[in-house]
Amino acid sequence: MRRLVLVATIFNAACGHSGEPRGAAPGSAHGVDAPVLPFGRPATADEIKAWDIAIAPDGTGLPPGSGTAAQGAVLYRQKCAMCHGPTGTEGPAEPLVGREPRQGFPFGKDPSLVRTVGNYWPYATTLYDYIHRAMPLNAPGSLSPDDVYRAVAFLLWRNEIITDTAVVNAQTLPRVVMPARDRFVVDNRRGGAEVR
């Protein structure tokens, strides 16, 4: 996570955290001296648990359960292929499978390249997070944890990132290193004269 820390550090430096909103004046309703107003109520543990769905790159948030690519193939045929195509490349929804180009990362140069899970997604945990949130499009949030792990395993296998017998679960998924893992850089635009 060293790179993530770097990202945060740069933002801290760039934004000059003051702890109060821009333009707040002493005595205003929004300054640091304004009273903390007693509106809202404490959240219950159940409320938090019901909505606390985000998965971090280190695997925090991943639920119990597991799946393999073989199991995922069945699920994919039933619930994914109608939009993403029989092998994940045909569409009509965006292609999910493909490792080309294997050399370099020339997406900026070449508008004909198709960005897929295999050649562009930097974190495997994002697959779980996104499929659980939003897929399938006609029944979002309907997949069980086992089903999501199966779909993730299938897509990682189809993209030649794991074997067809690998078990994907809360322990193994964060350890998957995606091909595009180190291709992403911090935004270096800062305004001023230079176009970046």
Binding site: C15, A34, F105, K109, V195
Partner: protein, 412 residues
């Protein structure tokens, strides 16, 4: 502008009313001539006018329309060429959804803030509205705006088709900093996740500094509650930052010490660059401008004085100046900036042009308060690459042909 359908609603209202002249719309509908053009009396001063009404409507002669593309995962573009000034009427504000517009009951709405906080809390709409509020005018722009002018460029593109994914509203809400103080954000927190209540449960990681700085939990838009397409009943508003990070239908904020690497900040909304990397968390919208008149599909009826007009904006602050060229970028002259010039807000510019009737390539160039100059297309392609996505803020140009027709310029 010619075909104004009679709505079922106005027909029913007319039947129920049954007396008096009815609404202006009903009067005009009755006066409609055979061709469907709204008809008016020969002399409006000789006919009693329509009564007052509970809800105003546009003149039937005016039919500005968004341009919807892509269904419930798509966009709907603001008709920039039909608008004056800087404010976008709420019903013409652009749309971009990842899984459609959710129907949310304001009575059941709640915003959960938890994670690295001293007191995880829930705020219903009444609680959000009870906090001291602020209002501010800001543009909101999808980071994909302008893509149609970057590659595979066609001459038959209107301002709406090129840049219709930007709109300006007056937003009202509670500063997120106020809520951060209420929940007690813990030391060491560096990011927060903002998550929507749509069918994609769309989520973005935001640096915590932006939350302390100027982020709003907005529930008001141009004086009324948010429109559903803009996040009713409450959304995140991050002045100057790409539209996607301004999460609509906001239901949850999780404070953390890391970004979550959601799909929308990895697979999407990252910028592949010419050097073989991809820029991530590129939130700020760089300075940009577009001439909205004259522009395709307008045809100027003849040479002479014409006011070139358009909008400029920057996610880094105020627009310092806008320059106009009418000769393809060889010479530039300053445009007048309409007051108010506000930070991270559309700014209207005007330039009086005496067209000599010869083919002319007209363009605008914005400069913001940081000194950043809107780049040419070739300058931007050189640093980003032809294949990049998002943040297309290069100079747009329009070719005014000798017959007065105007098409999108392929140079610039």
């Amino acid at each position: 502008m010619t075909d104004v359908p009679i709505s079922r609603r106005s027909l029913l209202a007319g039947a129920a009313g049954a007396l008096g002249a009815g609404t202006l719309q009903q009067q005009l509908a009755r006066l409609r001539n055979q061709s469907g053009t709204p008809a008016v009396p020969a002399d409006p001063t000789k006919v009693p006018g329509a009564p007052t009404s509970v809800l105003g409507e546009r003149s039937p002669f005016e039919r500005p329309r968004r341009l919807p593309l892509g269904g419930n995962q798509g966009v709907s573009l603001t008709p920039l060429q039909d608008l004056y000034g800087i404010v976008t009427p709420a019903d013409l504000h652009f749309e971009r959804h990842h899984a459609g517009v959710p129907a949310i009951d304001p009575q059941r709405y709640k915003l959960l803030i938890h994670g690295m906080v001293e007191r995880p809390m829930v705020f219903d709409l009444a609680a959000l509205r009870r906090f001291p509020a602020v209002s501010a005018l800001h543009f909101l722009e999808c980071s994909g705006n302008g893509g149609a002018s970057y590659r595979n460029i066609r001459p038959d593109l209107s301002p709406q088709q090129i840049d219709g994914l930007t709109s300006t509203s007056e937003w009202t809400g509670v500063p997120l900093a106020t809520l951060f103080r209420a929940v007690g954000v813990k030391p060491g927190a560096t990011w927060f996740l903002a998550e929507g209540e749509d069918a994609a449960v769309m989520a973005r990681s935001i640096p915590i500094e932006k939350g302390w700085d100027d982020a709003l939990i907005a529930y008001g838009q141009n004086g009324e509650p948010l429109r559903p397409e803009q996040g009713y009943p409450a959304r995140l508003l991050l002045p100057g930052w790409e539209g996607n990070s301004n999460v609509k239908w906001l239901r949850r904020i999780e404070v953390a010490d890391h970004p979550f690497m959601t799909r929308e900040e990895t697979s999407k909304y990252t910028d592949p660059l010419a050097d073989g990397t991809a820029r991530q968390f590129s939130f700020v919208m760089d300075a940009k401008s577009i001439i909205t008149f004259p522009a395709y599909p307008v045809t100027l009826p003849g040479a002479g004085w014409w006011e070139i007009s358009g909008i400029a904006w920057s996610g880094r602050g105020m627009i310092r100046r806008v320059e106009i060229s009418t000769d393809g970028g060889r010479e530039w002259a300053p445009a007048a900036l309409q007051l108010p010039v506000l930070s991270r807000c559309h700014t209207r510019f005007r330039y009086l042009w005496n067209w000599d009737g010869k083919e002319s390539l007209i363009m605008s160039r914005a400069v913001d308060e940081t000194g950043y100059v809107q780049p040419t297309l070739s300058e931007l392609r050189a640093v980003r690459g032809l294949g990049t996505f998002y943040h297309f803020n290069h100079i747009r140009s329009w070719r005014v042909r000798r017959d007065g027709s105007v098409v999108f310029g392929l140079e610039g």
